[in-house]
């Protein structure tokens, strides 16, 4: 598939960019943060995005999706990233939506994937635990079999889009401990509705002020029908869902770095010192040019990763790692340089650049940083 946008895709990108600039400028995110809004986003604006069909873009029409792919979804999420729009596209659409779609579990999907596509339901996928770092298979949460179901115990950390979620997808395994040889063995994904006894959501406040929470599971009773997909076969679904969500996160990062860079260039043209615009100084010009190069390479990588996933290409896992490694390094570089160039203003809370810098760090350390993905690339390449 060509690395170029067709007319339909260009229109999707333009619609999304116009919408976010108009309805969700950075000041909206700042306002949500300043009000310490626990949800971290706006359910009503998310409803408007859903009315435009955005959450359902990559999912089957059978479940009220658009039947397109990540190739199209990344265009929308890039626009969201530009203005730091915090609606639940990474956790709910990216992780939970992908896991549901990949599980091909029609019974659950009729309710939950449909709900995600329509924007009426927010579902969070709780994969991260304290020891797991970036390895989604390091799951210690247990699901002990009982006569008529399971009892879950464990604790999930930094669950994205968890506050106010309608349901949770929880990876757990019967054995409790992680099998040494095949760490994915025996993992199942449980769908648990909010309000189930024994499950509590404790909000976490991170540097990026996105919706994130600890999920406590204390003797949570589940029935067999609550397993998404097949019992004991959740690992593959989880790994793939994580790849999809990673591409979506990369798109958000691409939008964020593009906007942070554009703000920086504007500042370089307007800010005068020694009687001239600071953008005329070669020391700054070269740094800006190098940031530009990194952003262009990141863009090619994200486009290629999205297309590879859509085509179920064998190269997809490597290209996903390529995109995440590049976006991680490029977003950090862009925002570090931006703060330095904005200088005194750059380190004030009043300046938007700091918001981008914090989101850059949070995105870098979500789903694996550049070192992690270089090592993963090496493993996938057989060295």
């Amino acid at each position: 598939m060509a690395l170029v946008l067709n007319d339909e895709q260009a229109l999707i990108a333009k619609t999304a960019t116009d919408f976010t600039r108009d309805r969700s400028p950075v000041s909206r995110f700042r306002d949500l943060r300043d009000r310490d809004e626990p949800l971290g986003f706006s359910r009503s604006l998310y409803g408007e995005m859903a009315a435009l069909g955005w959450p359902g873009i990559p999912f089957d029409e059978e479940f009220d999706g658009a039947g397109l792919g990540l190739t199209e979804l990344v265009l929308v999420v890039e626009a969201l990233g530009r203005t730091l729009a915090p609606e639940p596209f990474i956790g709910c659409v990216g992780l939970a939506g992908s896991a549901l779609a990949l599980s091909k579990d029609n019974e659950h999907n009729d309710v939950w994937l449909k709900g995600i596509c329509r924007g009426s339901k927010v579902v969070a996928l709780a994969h991260q635990e304290v020891p797991s770092r970036y390895d989604c298979l390091k799951v210690e949460t247990s699901a002990k079999a009982q006569e008529d179901g399971f009892v879950l115990n464990g604790r999930k950390m930094q669950v994205l889009d968890a506050v106010g979620a309608d349901a949770f997808i929880v990876p757990a395994r019967e054995a409790g401990e992680i099998p040494h040889k095949d760490p994915g063995l025996g993992m199942s994904l449980f769908l648990i509705e909010a309000g189930t006894p024994g499950m509590t959501v404790e909000r976490q406040v991170r540097i990026d002020h996105r919706n994130s929470a600890i999920l406590h599971l204390d003797n949570v009773r589940c029935e067999a029908f609550q397993i998404v997909g097949r019992k004991g076969e959740g690992a593959k679904v989880l790994e793939q869902a994580l790849e999809h969500a990673t591409v979506i996160l990369c798109a958000e990062m691409l939008g964020g770095m593009s906007e942070a860079f554009s703000l920086t260039l504007d500042y370089m043209k307007g800010r005068e010192q020694f009687g001239v615009p600071i953008g005329s100084f070669q020391a700054l010009k070269h740094r800006a040019a190098r940031v530009f190069i990194e952003i262009e390479l990141a863009r090619s990588s994200v486009m290629a990763a999205a297309r590879a996933v859509d085509q179920k290409s064998e190269e997809a896992p490597k290209l996903v790692s390529l995109a995440k490694a590049r976006c991680s390094d490029a977003y950090i570089l862009t925002t570090n340089e931006a703060v330095q160039i904005f200088a005194g203003m750059g380190v004030t809370d009043e300046c938007d650049i700091g918001l981008y810098m914090k989101r850059a760090r949070a995105s870098e350390l979500t789903f694996g940083d550049a070192d992690f993905h270089r090592a993963r690339w090496a493993t996938l390449s057989g060295y």
Binding site: K285, A288, A289, S300, M303, R374, G382
Partner: protein, 405 residues
């Protein structure tokens, strides 16, 4: 297959190549043989190489898109592409390469007068004349417009005095296209520069090869002492040479093509075909199929991933061009990123080889070791020639990012 003019042309090319292309040249990787640069001093590797040039020149296919009256093939761009594809499919080397075809030829087609075109283009097409470029001077590198080589009018001639440097293969060339200063009192240093063609056999022209850190001598110094050049050799107007030079330097498409070609050439060499990971496993060792040293493993992956992202970006440009979109800002990054990537790769190869990378010649070092070291040394020129990385970054800052002077 439906019959279309394109398909008919492809069939014609195919059958002509099958009938005429020397068998000895088929399947020879173009990297294993030096291209044919032509000119009076050229020594052909074989009779077939010479025959191949004559056959192709006879059809005008050494310069496929040039007009037939100047020795070209008169083909459309589409047909020229088909020809290139078929040459590749038959694993045939290009019959002729060089600055005549890629630089001065296109310049004359655009800026030259009828007499100049008729005089020079057919000789280029037939590979009879080899050209070199006289731009840089000892005192004019990145600041090319400060060049000092003087051309003083004397009747219907110009008398030229001065020196050019980094003239590629000037000692092998028959003619040079050069920038000279005709008006030292012009308002700006760009004005007063003239684009002129000089016969290297003219009395007063001398060349001296420059030996590089790699041991190679691809460049020369070229000196001009009272060299008489007829006025008819001025291309365009006297004093308007800078515009021509810029058109030649900044011709984005050909620059892009050159770089892509260079990259594909460099990826053909054994040094770049050898995978870094295999080399690292061999020299540093492996544990369970992984490179033993985590740091080296991460570095190898880093270079491979950079190369992948770079080639995807090139693909993005090509795909956009094929979709009829104008070249985007990403094209400006190719020179600087491609050359720096190539250097970083060479550096890592040398580090992986360890002490085996220290050989200049002689015992204790095998052919691969020595070639790796020379490749690293040669790679240092890449970020300098054709506009240094710093100049490239200036261009990006100004033209793409719109930053002020």
């Amino acid at each position: 297959m439906p019959t279309s003019p394109q398909n008919e042309f492809r069939e014609e090319v195919r059958s002509w190549l099958s009938d005429h292309a020397p068998v000895s040249l088929r399947g020879v990787e173009s990297s294993k043989i030096d291209g044919v640069w032509g000119g009076k001093k050229w020594q052909f590797d074989s009779a077939d190489q010479k025959r191949w040039l004559e056959l192709m020149a006879g059809r005008g296919w050494t310069a496929p898109t040039w007009p037939t009256k100047y020795g070209g093939g008169g083909l459309t761009n589409e047909q020229a592409e088909i020809l290139a594809e078929e040459l590749k499919a038959h694993q045939l080397p290009p019959p002729l390469v060089g600055f005549g075809l890629t630089m001065i030829g296109p310049t004359l087609l655009h800026f030259g007068n009828e007499q100049q075109k008729a005089e020079h283009l057919p000789k280029i097409c037939r590979g009879e004349v080899r050209w070199c470029q006289g731009y840089s001077e000892p005192g004019a590198g990145s600041d090319l417009a400060s060049l000092q080589t003087r051309a003083v009018r004397d009747g219907d001639h110009f008398i030229i005095n001065g020196s050019k440097i980094w003239t590629s293969s000037a000692d092998q060339a028959d003619w040079i296209f050069a920038l000279v200063r005709t008006d030292p009192h012009a308002r700006t240093k760009q004005e007063g520069i003239t684009f002129i063609l000089i016969d290297m056999e003219s009395p007063g022209v001398s060349t001296r090869p420059i030996k590089l850190i790699s041991g190679d001598s691809p460049f020369c110094e070229t000196h001009f002492v009272d060299v008489r050049v007829p006025e008819i050799n001025v291309v365009g107007e006297v004093g308007a040479g800078w515009k021509i030079a810029k058109a030649l330097l900044g011709h984005e498409r050909s620059m892009l093509a050159d770089i892509l070609e260079e990259l594909s050439m460099s990826t053909d060499s054994q040094q770049s075909r050898t995978t870094l990971s295999e080399l690292a496993k061999q020299h540093i060792g492996e544990v369970n199929g992984k490179i033993r040293d985590e740091v080296v493993r991460n570095r190898v992956a880093g270079i491979e991933m950079d190369a992948q992202a770079f080639s995807l970006t090139i693909r993005r440009t090509r795909d956009a061009a094929e979709a009829g979109q104008p070249p985007g800002p990403e094209t400006s990054i190719f020179k600087v990123y491609g050359t720096e990537l190539s250097q970083r790769r060479s550096e890592l190869m040398v580090r992986i080889l360890g002490p085996q990378a220290l050989g200049w010649e002689g015992p204790g070092f095998d052919e691969f070791d020595l070639a790796t070291t020379r490749t690293w040394l040669k790679s240092r020129t890449e970020t300098i020639g054709g506009g240094t990385s710093e100049i490239q970054l200036n261009v990006i800052a100004k033209r793409v990012l719109g930053l002020p002077d």
